[in-house]
């Protein structure tokens, strides 16, 4: 009997030990400091400026939003708002707030504070120079119904608003923060939110320290993790140089870094570090044509240029598996995505035929021309986009094969911005925007919004005539159709229409690349790839 007993005892012991270690490895450890290397210093931290990744990476830790967009399902879930109601035509939104939530300065997150936030984001504050938020459309006014209930009224249906309350640009900040003029909001210590971390110290342009809030108890309701953040502190250090940032991670001087180019991925993964490449779920990394320029005003020319772009070559030469080939103007993980692969082929022979048809004949120097006008196009590389210069240069080679010259410029910021408003100077531009709501499509192409196609009536006074009313009607439908099915149908139409007109040549689905040491656990990303360190812990 005895040996048996021993054996049983032993196996029970082993079993207990395995269970114990397993649970120990899985259950998060509290404490520790995460050293996070950012490529660029943050700029203005007014919440609607959170789209800039260095800003978003900070705002996501120090502010909470009314709602939480589940990054997997893209469903909107409760956060600061316990529940909400939307009327049938999406012109009235009523939010019931969670009680007991406070900003880090001790003031309550109540209906009055939330109302003031959206009044500012929706209407701007001219006196304080605070601009309007891109995600709040057709905003009229707020109404405080009781201390924990707030209602927002819209002039026109605003179906994108619910998702708009979940995005990085809608972080709720205290009244004291909103009382500051815009030009003072670049000081992180003045941004008072209700988030799981609080800014404890900052050396502007160099480093930023965040401390966990002990009393934080109002994370997104459906997350497993509740209560305070696991980490005690996060230390942001600006490390602009790619080599130094990656080297520091590999040498153990940092735990987590942002921005790894595809050519550095192998080095990072090869040494046992984890690569994170969350997608940005919006309009894909694309090049767009400005049809106001006579060179690209003919749809045949645009189609030819589109057919001559070899996405496979671009991805295999410059990128990795984390940069999926584009199959529409929208990311395949975006709401309302409809694949458009038949419109995105690579066929240089057909491209040549189309250019011949359009009247562009190959001249003596190998460049196509029509009525003495050479088919020479120009574009600026886009600094925030991964290897934009290299991508454009590769496209220039591919277009060169069908007799089109493509000049890629890298000018200073001022020259680029001025030239990019002039379709004659930049018939081609790089475009990309991340947001996990169909509104993103309107935002990208609509003349009074980002207006990447440079239609008349937008930010540029250099446009002569180009406007596409059919496209704009579809975009209007997307932003104001309260019926979800109809709205998503319009999103599908927009994708097909933009590609039928060959206004855009989507290239790849742009990720945000991060890397971390193996012991960094529980890294999460919001729907557009900004890190959240609320549930992060260090297994060491």
């Amino acid at each position: 009997m005895k040996p048996y007993r021993k054996l049983i005892a032993l196996s029970i012991g082993i079993l207990a030990a395995t269970v114990f270690t397993a649970s120990a490895a899985d259950s998060p450890v509290k404490g520790g400091t995460l050293v996070y290397l950012e490529q660029q210093s943050h700029t203005n931290l007014y919440p609607p400026a959170g789209g800039f990744y260095p800003n978003g990476g900070i705002l996501n830790q120090i502010t909470d939003k009314l709602t939480y967009q589940n990054p997997k399902t893209l469903e909107i879930e409760p956060w600061l708002a316990e529940s909400w109601q939307v009327n049938d035509d999406a012109t009235e939104y009523t939010f019931k707030l969670r009680s007991g939530v406070t900003f880090s300065d001790g003031t309550p997150v109540d209906a009055a504070a939330v109302a003031k936030n959206f009044d500012t984001f929706g209407l701007g504050n001219k006196g304080l120079k605070q601009p309007i938020s891109e995600v709040v459309n057709n905003y009229e006014r707020s109404e405080v119904i009781d201390p924990l209930t707030v209602k927002f009224h819209f002039k026109k249906p605003s179906p994108g608003f619910l998702q708009g309350t979940s995005v990085i640009g809608s972080g709720i900040v205290s009244l004291s923060t909103l009382a500051l003029p815009f030009e003072q909001l670049g000081d992180a210590t003045k941004i008072v939110g209700s988030g799981p971390f609080v800014v404890s110290q900052e050396t502007i342009g160099k480093s930023l320290d965040l401390k966990a809030r002990e009393d934080y108890n109002w994370g997104p309701a459906k997350l497993d993790h509740q209560g305070r953040a696991y980490l005690d502190e996060i230390k942001y250090v600006i490390t602009g140089e790619d080599g130094v940032r990656i080297g520091a991670l590999l040498a153990g001087q940092a735990d987590f870094i942002r921005q790894i180019q595809a050519y550095d991925e192998q080095q990072v993964e090869g040494q046992g570090f984890t690569l994170y490449a969350p997608g940005t779920r919006g309009v894909n990394n694309s090049i767009v044509f400005r049809a106001d320029n006579p060179l690209v005003s003919d749809v045949k020319v645009r189609k030819a240029l589109s057919l001559a772009v070899n996405r496979d070559e671009i991805i295999s030469t410059l990128f990795s598996k984390n940069y999926p080939k584009a199959t529409s103007i929208l990311s395949s993980a975006a709401l309302g995505y409809v694949p458009q692969t038949d419109k995105l082929g690579y066929d240089p022979e057909k491209a040549k035929a189309l250019l011949d048809e359009a009247g562009y004949k190959v001249g003596a120097d190998g460049v196509r021309e029509k009525d003495g006008q050479k088919l020479v196009l120009t574009s600026y590389a886009s600094l925030p986009q991964p290897q934009s210069q290299a991508v454009l240069q590769l496209i220039a080679q591919q277009w060169g094969k069908i007799g089109v010259t493509f000049n890629v410029l890298a000018g200073d910021a001022g020259t680029k911005i001025v030239d990019e408003l002039d379709p004659q100077k930049t018939p081609v531009a790089v475009a990309m925007v991340g947001r996990a709501d169909p509104d993103v499509v309107k935002s990208q192409y609509y003349p009074t919004l980002r207006n990447v196609l440079l239609q008349k009536g937008g930010t540029s006074d250099k446009v002569q005539t180009f406007a596409d009313e059919k496209l704009n009607a579809i975009l209007d439908e997307i932003a104001s159709q309260p019926d979800r099915e109809k709205r998503l149908k319009a999103v599908g139409e927009a994708q097909a229409y933009v590609l039928d007109q060959a206004y855009a040549v989507p290239i790849f689905e742009e990720p945000q690349a991060f890397a971390g040491a193996a012991y960094v656990k529980g890294i999460a990303f919001e729907a557009v790839g900004r890190p959240s360190f609320y549930s992060t812990w260090l297994d060491k």
């Binding site: 700029t43 800039f52 309007i132 160099k206 602009g240 130094v244 080297g247 910021a413 001022g414």
Partner: protein, 312 residues
Amino acid sequence: MTRYVAGRIGQAVLVLWAAFTLSFIILQAMPGDAVLIKFLNPEFGLSADQIREIRQAYAIDSGVLVQYAHTFANFLQGDFGYSMQAGVPVSVQLATNLPPTLRLAALGFGAAVVLAVFIAFLSSIAPFAWLRNLVQSLPSLFISVPVFWLAIMLIQIFSFRLKLVSVINPGPWESLILPVATLSVPIAAPLAQILIRNIDEIRTRPFVGVARAKGAGELHLLWRHVARNALLPTLTIAGVLFGELLAGAVVTETVFGLNGIGGLTEKAVSNQDLSVLQAVVVISAAAFVTINLAVDLAYPFLDPRLRTRNGA
């Protein structure tokens, strides 16, 4: 002497005003402006009307002269304004970035002087001709090494491989070791070059032969007779090298992730952040003028001949 100093200070003020005005004109002539760069940016996605309103709020489209007068008046009162890009007062940016750059520049310069003197002396007293030649070619090598490459190499070797110093979150002195080493190399090169050439030239002078005939040893000769005479032109070049020092600081600060005037300037230029840039230009000009003034005033102390001429 007092008149001389007053005249030089008057000149300095004129230089500062010219620097301010010129930088203002150049920035105005550049396409685009800070407001466009800041707000016509994908991070905001603002509409045409909203941008128009913001431009009005910042009065960016008012006349050039009005803007000039406005900025100049504020400047005279010590109000540098706000950084459009960073959203903080320029005075705060200067307060966080000026001291580290000054520390880096001072230490870098000090290290460069030590290095230059060492090279120059070695090149004249080293035992073998081939060794002297080798040492003499060091300045050319130093000046051709790109600062950027040197910085990365030092980090890779001393921080990432040998793990002797930390680049991320280093201690206050630890953070200066590699940057100072990096910065001193390109500054030491011209200093050493000039020192070597002067030493060589002065050694051929008759008084050196006399001193040697009197029985002075090589080292004594070098230190007491040659070096003092060789120092003057070196000092002149040292004043001019300050500009080089600032330029080197930009690269060094960027690679090592240090905050400082270099990085601040780089960002301000690319974003046409007028108020930051003007403050930096004026402060750099002031530093440049002060250092060169100090150098000029130091001459009489090093060279008795200048003292008598002033007195006469």
